[in-house]
Structure formats: structure tokens, C-alpha cells
Amino acid sequence: MTEVLHDRKNHPPNGVRTPKKTPAAPRPRLSRRGLPRANYPAGLGALIWLGIVGLPLYVLVATTFQTRDGYIDDGPLALPDHPTLTNYRRVLRSDFLSYLLNTALVTAVCAAIVITLSVTVGYTVVRARGRASRRIFQIFLLGLAIPSQAVVIPVYLVITKLQLYDTLLAVILPTAAFSLPVSVLVLVGTMRDIDEELYESMALDGASPTRVLLQLVVPLSRSAISTVGVMSALHAWNGFLFPLLLTQSKGNRLLTLGLYDYVGEFRVDTPALLTAVVLSIVPIFLVYLFARRQLISGLMGVGGK
């Protein structure tokens, strides 16, 4: 702590003394790989939060290797005495993989629809002239406040009238629609920060709106677009109410609904149930590992410009 204070006292004078002589005045900080000084209270808070997040996750994963009797006897905190894969075999032998495929399909199509539509809408809201684009933005802002639960009854009516009830499309369409407001908002926020001069220099080149979108707006909004993609994919993957109310047959069942059904199927076999939970998270975890790298490089790309 004293070191930190000491450090803090020493730095500003350095900064004040040098800037007029050398333009590289803030360099001392950068020479330490750009790291600002450590913040111990915040670090402690983060460690506490790590415990709150980590403990349930530990129990979740540890339990999946536990037998049912072991779980009941030893409690959730114990490491499994005899680690077993029985739970995984049991879950994979059920219809899990079919649920997984359905969910992956729905998620991919939703994310594609959301990215395409929100990028074009965001671009128009930020760059188009006139009142109409402002109105459209206001519709989406208002749409932020429409909870999907609240309109599920009319959506049910619309879907049955379109004869889409109990199809994957019945889930995809409303799910994608409800991802749009947040996505548009995120993208508009980012696209507004793109420098006006960059647009002007492209306009000087006589660039068409398509070219401005593809060569300027999309590259500079890459991190926001990744965020939108990740968020809408998660939203589709997480979706429960639309599958619950708009699909029926086992062939069109999605993972969330499948998990809900396992509660009845596995009854008191908590390890088997939690194994299904873990297996439902694994695929999106892999996607996350991949998408996170994109997210970070996107942020750095913008930061470097």
C-alpha cells in the first residue's frame, strides 16, 4: 500500500516536468508495458466476486462426475470419491444430441438475421438524412421496452395463423426480432463515434453507401458487431419462452426446453440433471472462446486507429 502511495506521489511531478521538453512525456507509464498502478481494494473486491461466481460453477462441474448416491451422502462440496462418466453416458443416450442440433441451427440463423438487419439499420440511423431515419430509431428505442413475455400471446396467434406452429422457424423469427433493439442501440452508439472526416474523405472519393458501409463502417464497428453477434447468439441459445409456447413435438425441441423436461425425467438424480446442464453450456463455451478473441482484437483494432 505504501509503495502504491509512494508511486502515486512520484509520478505526476515527472509528468509535469517533462512534457514541454519532450512530446513523449507520458512514456514512463508506457515503458512499463502500459500498465497503470495496481488497485488493491478493487482487486480484493474482484477476488470476492470470483468466489461468488466460482463456487457454484465448481459445484456444478464436480457434481457431474459424482454418482447419485455419492452426491446424497457427501454433499455438493465434496470432490467425487470415484469419478464416473455414467452421468454423461446417460444424458448422451437420451435425445440430447437432437436438441443440440436444433438449438445450434436456431442460434446460427438468428445471429445471421440480427447482424444483417441491425448493421443496415444502425448505419441508416447514423448516416441517413431526414426525419424518417430518426423515427425508425425511435421505434427501436421504444422496442427496447417491449418485453417478449408481454407479446407472446399475439405472437402465438400470428405464428399459428402463418401455419408455423411447431417449427423451428416459429422460434427463429420472434427471437431474432427481439434481439434487434439492443443490437441497433449498440451499433448506433459505436457508429456515432466514427470520425466525420473519415466519411468526408470517402465521399471525396465518390464512394457509394455500400462501399462506405463495407470499407469504413463495418471495419470500424467490428468489435460492436462481434458483441451484437455474441449477444444475439446467447439470446437465441437462452431462449425458453418461445420454444415452450411455440413448439410441441420432440423433433423440434430445443435444449432449454429439453433441460426443463429432464427435471421430470431424472427426478431426484441431481448429478444427471446437472450433467445435462453442463453439456448444454459446453458448445456455447467453445464459441465464446473463439468469439472472445475476436472481441478483444476488435477492441484493440479500434483503439489502435
Binding site: 509520478h11 509528468g15 509535469v16 507509464r29 502500459g34 500498465l35 473486491g45 474482484a46 470470483l50 461466481v53 466460482g54 457454484p56 460453477l57 459445484v59 456444478l60 457434481t63 454433499g75 455438493p76 438487419l117 443496415t120 439499420v121 448505419y123 441508416t124 440511423v125 441517413a128 431515419s133 428505442l141 421504444l142 427496447l144 421496452a145 417491449i146 418485453p147 413475455q149 408481454a150 407479446v151 400471446i153 399475439p154 405472437v155 396467434l157 420472434p174 434487434l180 433493439p181 465521399a203 471525396l204 465518390g206 464512394a207 457509394s208 453507401p209 458483441t227 437462452n238 425458453f240 440433471l273 446442464v277 453450456i281 456455447i284 463455451f285 465464446y288 472472445r292 477492441l299 483503439g303
Partner: protein, 314 residues
Amino acid sequence: MADAAPTRARRPARQPRRSVGRAGVGRPGVVWALPGALFFVFFAVAPMLLVGALAFTDWDGIGTPSWTGMSNWSRLWDDPETHQAIRLSLVLTVLTWVFQTPLALLLGVWAAGRQRNRAVLSAVFFLPLLGSSVALALVWKSLLDPNFGLVADIGPALGFADGDLLGSSNGAFGAILFVTAWQFIPLHTLIYQGGARAIPRSLYDAAAIDGAGTVRQFFSITLPQLRNTVVTSSVIMVVGALTFFDTVLILTKGGPGTDTTIVPYLMYKNGFQAFDLGYASAVATILVFVATTVSLLLVRLTGFAAMRSTREGM
């Protein structure tokens, strides 16, 4: 220039060549937003209006809705369960904001730092966001099981001697508040992290030169610069809290009694368990009304619609 083809038909007519370099060139027409806008209107805005109409009907979900005038509304007006549900939803929303915002803000700003340990920890913090709310509610349901769950081990330390957290009204309500926070704080942390990273370093460098410490920098630079982020996060949070349905369904089924029956669960109960979709539509209309009002207030109060870049004037 070569790839101006897609808009050839429209652009040159309105923007003659000589205006090259003026602000109108290369701007998209409103047509660009139409696919997205129409899609959204069809599946979200129109249903919102439709739910208001269905609230004046009697419908069992199979036949055709039949007009019944105000009967759903007068029933709703007298229904103590509805009053309780609205109250519970509002309390849950306020507490959610109070609980989640400071934590997410602090964690997000902290995670925005580029130190290696922060990157590793924030990767862990993000994990709850990967599970569906159904999956996470099932995990917590197991953890909160009074016989075999984690709460049986550590419950007594928290003041629940028999560990039956979900059996008491306050315990069940608190469990929903906590479990949803556990699930959604990562999302808002990420939003704040993105916002904080977008703040120009030069502001901090200038503040450091002026001798401002970490705390001072947080209140004088980070917080004001994150103004728009706070509004975004808050709107998402408020609408989210009004619609914690999955968690309630799995964790408490609205109980004990009706003590955690918030508005969306009440709607589900009436609509898809009792198949009284007309009455459920009236309940849903309230949800639309409350959510829209709260969000409009947030947006108005903070002047978000008129928001421009926080970079202005730099």
C-alpha cells in the same frame, strides 16, 4: 467508385456529380433500414398493439377470440393477486437496479484495465452468461435444495437454520433477486467494460498529470464518460427485471403461495395453464405499459434520444 453499382439507380439522380465532397454523398437512403424495421414491426410492435386488443376478448387459445368488452379489466381491477404481482415486479425491478448497477459498473471499469490478471478474471466472470437462464436456474435450484444442496451446508451461517430458503417468502424473493443478478451482472459488466475501454486514455493521462488519484479519476472522468453506457445498461436491466420468467418458473413456481408471482408469471399462469388467454392479455398489457413507461422515462430524463457522441468537443 467501381462498386457503386447497387445504388446506381437511386444516387446519381438525387446527388449530381458536382456535389462530390459535400456532406450528402455516400449517405444511405432510408430504404436501407426498411427490412430491419419492417421485420421488427411485424414480430414485435404489431403484437404489442394486438395484445391490447386481445385484452378485450375471451379466448381459450384454440377457437377465435370473442369480444367481451371490459370484463377482463374489471376482473383485473378487483384481483388482489394482480395487485400483488405488480407490486412484486416493481420492487424486484428497483432492487435489481440497486443491486446490479454498482457492482457491474465497478467490475466493468476494473475489467477494462489491460493487466493480465484482470483479463483472466474477467474471462471467469463472464461464465454465468453462457448458461441459459433455465440451465442456471436448475443449478441454483439444486444448490438451494434444503436436503442435498449447498444451502444445507452453508445455510445456517446465512441465518436459515433449516436451509429451506425457497420455503419462506423473503428467502424465495431474495433467491430470485440473487440468482438473476448472478446471471446478468456479467452482461452489464461487459457493457461497462466496453464503455470504459472506449474512454480516451489522454483524459486519464491529463488527470494524472494534474495529480488526480484513482478515485478522483473514477468520479471525474470514468463516470461522466460512461453516462450513455449507464442509460443503455439500465434500460436493458429494467426491462429484464420486469420479465424474469424462466427463473421464477423453475426456482419457485411463483411460490410459496403467490409470494413470488411477478407479472410475467401471472400472465403465464392465466394464459397457458388456465388457458384464459384474454385475461392473460390484459395482464400482459400492464406489463407492456409499465415497461414502456419506465424505459421512456429513463430515455427522456437522460436525453438519450438526442445523444451524440461523448467525444464531442474534443
